[in-house]
């Protein structure tokens, strides 16, 4: 054990991952626990917008200023997670001129570069914008991959000595003598890498300071510690398109509203969103009208969306917070700012701090503020270095070379890998030994990347998916889920791989259900055929209790060694061949002996 002061971070979203990195870099002995995968909560369920601050430039200028500052920081430290697409605020004829002017002025007041474009200029950038738009403001919005960002932060923390435990749910906050001193966690499998089916265990972790960074779940952790953290979770829908209909972030230039943004993200576009308060961050309705509204409303900005193919939809829950005295009725009025709740000052519970509110773009700043606070509480004198030091993967720009020659990958595959891995390309692909086939064709993910992710995430294929994007493309895993599972063997047992496969397949299905019409229904039916018909996964004998009576089935025309049970069945169905082989009438009648003495599954029916 080190003698450094210790801290425990609850929550593996962007905030928690940012905090664990920051504290580890400042020399603390720090542990992060997360009940699911990294990004399991809100971070993994957002549209991936790297804000320029433009969206807040009218209503919330302090947030807008923080956004543009952090936007610049992330472009520097997280190059391999960010794509600088640029963004447009587009005014339609029915949108007010006055708001457009205020937006422009607000951007300038907050230091956000902003330029007015004519409709022609805007359409030169994005040809699929509606013909009748009035004008647009160009701002430095971008796209950010929240999964890669969290994994990179966690990796940096681990490099600095931190411990990161995923699939470890906090079941209690330990309070002794009026002070929060630790947590009790339940590991879903054992300690360390997650393994499907491995027995869970409980563990108590003590720390000098506990940070509750669980976002929309902060109230639940607060309850365990006996403090009230009134987070107001608000859900929003996001609909994923099959291709990038636009390459620039498209915002509607009007005051708050539903369905007003399209974010190009990797191979897709994400349409967003709604804002509706919910009681439980894990149990709320996900409804078709929300998806319809995304398509119908955003088609006014980008008409081709109305006929385009969506591949799935998902919902996220914003961890909104406001001081209880404000009492906004409409969740869209609640500030997007973040709050540091010092439970010593606030609730007479030393040893614990909660951080609530905020947004992904400012995750690093939030982490810095709370790390400052924790260091202050623990008398640690250390500077924050997270704004200067690049994340693992973003250290070196020279990786964007032509990988085709170097690693034998086809150019598009190599390019995609390099975009995801950044400066880790050499480590992951370059040092891979043996054939490196493409496992996921939609997203161009090779075996080496899959194994790198398995090393980091254990047997959890959903975590492998988040790290690599494998199974996130158009086919939604139809052609690659089983390949990903194959990659787990022999490191993991076949039965572990099978469980992981089921989990991944079901997770994909959950979002696909919101896109089941037109081409995507066709695609989903093909997937159903491949997995149920070709692989017979829906009635897999290995997964059922009832043993199969192999002797009741055809052993082949030339079989020399029929199993013992076969003798029993030989007099049944086989005799029918003689009858059935002669003609329709002989065999077709309902009077045909339907009994099946040996087929025990039939005997049950």
């Amino acid at each position: 054990m080190s003698n450094a002061p210790s801290a425990l971070v609850i929550g593996g979203g962007s905030t928690g991952c940012g905090i664990v990195r920051d504290l580890a870099m400042r020399g603390l002995d720090v542990t992060l626990v997360e009940k699911g995968n990294l990004t399991h909560g809100t971070t993994g369920r957002m549209h991936g917008l790297l804000h320029s601050g433009g969206r807040y430039a009218v209503a919330d200028q302090s947030s807008a200023t923080e956004c543009i500052e952090e936007n610049r920081v992330l472009r520097r430290i997280a190059t391999h997670c960010v794509e600088m697409t640029g963004g447009l605020f587009v005014q339609r004829p029915e949108d007010e001129d006055e708001y457009f002017e205020r937006k422009l002025e607000g951007c300038r007041e907050c230091g956000i570069p902003a330029e007015v474009l004519s409709p022609e200029e805007a359409r030169e950038i994005e040809p699929h914008l509606a013909r009748d738009i009035e004008r647009a403001i160009r701002v430095p919005d971008g796209a950010i991959d929240p999964f890669r960002l969290c994994v990179a932060n966690a990796a940096a923390a681990i490099d600095h000595g931190a411990r990161v435990e995923t699939h470890a749910e906090v079941t209690d906050v330990l309070v002794e003598n009026g002070e929060a001193v630790g947590v009790e966690i339940e590991h879903e499998s054992g300690e360390g890498s997650f393994v499907h089916g491995e027995a869970g265990e409980r563990e108590e972790i003590y720390a000098d300071h506990i940070i509750n960074a669980t976002g929309a779940w902060a109230g639940q952790i607060g309850d365990m510690a006996g403090v009230d953290v009134a987070v107001r979770p608000s859900k929003g829908v996001m609909t994923i398109m099959n291709v990038r209909q636009v390459d620039t972030v498209i915002n509607r230039c009007k005051p708050k509203g539903d369905a007003d943004i399209v974010v190009p993200h990797e191979t897709t576009c994400i349409l967003g969103t709604t804002d509706e308060e919910v009681d439980d961050p894990e149990d709320y309705p996900e409804e078709g009208w929300e998806v319809d509204m995304m398509i119908d409303t955003l088609s006014k900005l980008v008409p081709m969306l109305s006929e385009a193919r969506t591949i799935r939809s998902f919902w996220g829950v914003r961890p909104l917070y406001e001081p209880p005295a404000v009492a906004s009725e409409d969740p869209t009025d609640i500030t997007r700012d973040f709050f540091l709740l010092d439970h010593d000052d606030r609730d007479d519970l030393p040893g614990m701090t909660s951080i609530v509110g905020g947004k992904l773009t400012t995750y690093r700043l939030m982490a810095e503020k709370i790390a400052d606070h924790v260091c202050d509480r623990l008398d640690v004198d250390a500077e924050c270095r997270t704004a200067e030091e690049p994340l693992p993967g973003s250290e070196d720009f020279s990786v964007l070379r032509d990988w085709m020659d170097e690693f034998g990958l086809r150019s598009p595959v190599g390019r995609r890998s390099a975009e995801r891995l950044g400066s880790r390309m050499d480590e992951v692909i370059g040092e891979w030994d043996g054939p490196n086939p493409t496992v996921c064709e939609c997203e161009a993910v090779t075996r080496a990347e899959i194994h790198d992710a398995i090393e980091g995430a254990g047997s959890d294929l959903n975590a492998v998916r988040l790290r690599t994007r494998a199974s996130m493309g158009n086919c939604q895993g139809a052609f690659c889920c089983h390949r990903m599972a194959n990659e787990l063997v022999p490191e993991y047992d076949e039965v572990v791989a099978r469980d992981a496969f089921e989990d991944l397949y079901q997770e994909r299905w959950k979002g696909e259900r919101h896109a089941l019409w037109g081409q995507q229904l066709s695609q989903a039916t093909l997937k159903h055929m491949l997995h149920a018909t070709t692989m017979n996964r829906d009635s897999d004998p290995a997964a059922t209790e009832e043993p199969v009576d192999f002797g009741a089935f055809d052993p082949g025309p030339d079989a020399t060694s029929a199993p013992g049970a076969g003798t029993e069945s030989a007099g049944g169905p086989d005799d029918a061949v003689a009858d059935g082989g002669t003609g329709i009438e002989a065999a077709g009648g309902p009077d045909r002996d339907g009994s099946n003495p040996a087929g025990e599954t039939d005997a049950d029916s």
Binding site: T438, N486, V489, T525, T534, A552, D554, S605
Partner: protein
């Protein structure tokens, strides 16, 4: 001059091909119109008839289980007799390239995922690998191939309780292709015996053999010369060699497609491929022509009888948008819940309504409208475009296509030569 035949079949998959062959058998002049490559190349090449009913699986006698199917199932229209008629015709088409006709019982075939699945007819190269034969088995996979992992498949088969010992072994294919080469590449190399690949493959596998009776490879042991490749390997390995059906691109599926095309040519069915059927013409409530879009020009194909075999949701014989589900060519009625969220279930392998989407046939396989009246006296439907069957869960896709195709084709032919 107008293009005229006795029977026009729309759709070149298994159902359309069987319909065309069956109609031609009756003496009619038949034309088969197909647009894109059929979905056969995505299928395993196995001919499932019925493998699961009401949650009971695997079914060992598919014929005995037919009367447990719902009334609206296409099998209930053609009956057990219709299924047998279809299989007989199929057996004629494929000749000695398929096995399974010697018994009513289903065979359990090893899948590339390591499960077993019940099927009624299987390619001759698959036959030695059936799970009911008690022969110790070595599965062989290739290091560069992601679709099939021999070790995982062997462990999975053991978990399924197969009555023999099974091991898995992964070897390097003797020729190094680019990392993401497809199975067809491997097959071609074996077909042509490039760089002595057959012998080198045998050498690689011999080292892994340990008194196994048979050796299974993913179905890529050649295409045109697959029997030769298998025979060679069997000689070198002193063990039976079999193939394991795969997903797309599926060599066994493509070979079945080739067998069908050969049979269609032998039967002198006229083939019109590459252009989509887009509309139709009628006269006093009877269908007189199907129109095909040939480079922007609508060309009518006249006939007395028509068979719709355009496939289901995968083949786009059934289409949908956010509000409704349609049969796009004739606008035949496709029943479906109004709320699209009722088209599917929350469980990935649930009892999905969408899996049964399709046209509703009368007792002569003619599509009916919402009131139960036939759309056209002289239009029958076959295969995936028919509703009422969840062919994926039932393991009945090929059987439904073969039996309804055969029935619809025969009936169309009978009507024209009458």
């Amino acid at each position: 001059m107008p293009i005229r035949d006795d029977v026009v079949v729309v759709g070149g998959g298994l159902a359309g091909s069987m319909a065309a062959l069956s109609a031609a058998e009756s003496g009619a002049q038949v034309r088969l119109i197909s647009h894109k490559k059929s979905t056969l190349r995505q299928a395993s090449g196995l001919v499932d008839v019925l493998g699961a009913v009401n949650g009971d699986a695997p079914v060992s006698d598919p014929f005995a289980a037919v009367d447990q199917l719902p009334d609206k199932h296409p099998y209930r229209v053609v009956g057990v007799g219709g299924i047998r008629e279809g299989l007989r015709r199929f057996d004629d088409v494929v000749g000695d390239r398929y096995r399974g006709a010697h018994t009513d019982r289903n065979a359990l075939v090893v899948t590339h995922g390591g499960t077993v699945k019940p099927t009624a007819r299987y390619p001759v190269s698959v036959a030695p690998g059936l799970a009911s034969a008690e022969e110790d088995t070595l599965l062989v996979g290739f290091r560069g191939l992601t679709d099939f992992d021999a070790g995982a498949a062997a462990d999975h088969l053991e978990a399924a309780g197969v009555p023999f010992d099974v091991d898995g072994s992964t070897v390097d294919f003797p020729i190094q292709f680019r990392d993401d080469a497809r199975t067809t590449r491997f097959a071609r190399a074996l077909d042509k015996d490039q760089k002595d690949v057959r012998a080198r493959l045998a050498d690689a596998v011999v080292a892994e053999l340990d008194a196994h009776d048979r050796v299974g490879f993913p179905a890529m042991l050649g295409d045109d010369h697959e029997p030769e490749v298998r025979e060679f390997l069997e000689g070198r390995l002193s063990a039976t060699v079999f193939q394991i059906p795969t997903g797309p691109p599926s060599l066994l599926g493509m070979q079945l497609e080739d067998l069908l095309i050969d049979a269609l040519e032998r039967a002198e069915v006229r083939l019109s491929t590459g252009n989509p059927a887009v509309g139709y013409e009628t006269d006093e409530g009877e269908l007189t022509a199907v129109t095909v879009d040939r480079r922007g020009r609508d060309v009518p194909y006249y006939a007395d009888e028509f068979v719709l075999a355009t496939g289901g949701l995968v083949g786009k014989g059934i289409d949908s948008d956010r509000e409704s589900v349609v049969e796009p060519l004739f606008g035949c009625h496709v029943p479906h819940p109004a709320d699209r969220y009722e088209w599917s279930e929350a469980e990935a392998f649930g009892d999905h309504a969408f899996a049964r989407f399709g046209v509703v046939p009368d007792d002569d396989l003619r599509p009916t409208d919402a009131d139960g009246d036939v759309h056209f006296r002289n239009l029958r439907a076959a295969g995936g475009v028919l509703g009422g069957a969840d062919v994926a869960r039932e393991k009945s896709a090929a059987g439904v296509s073969i039996s309804t195709g055969t029935y619809a084709g025969r009936r169309a032919g009978e009507e024209t030569v009458r």
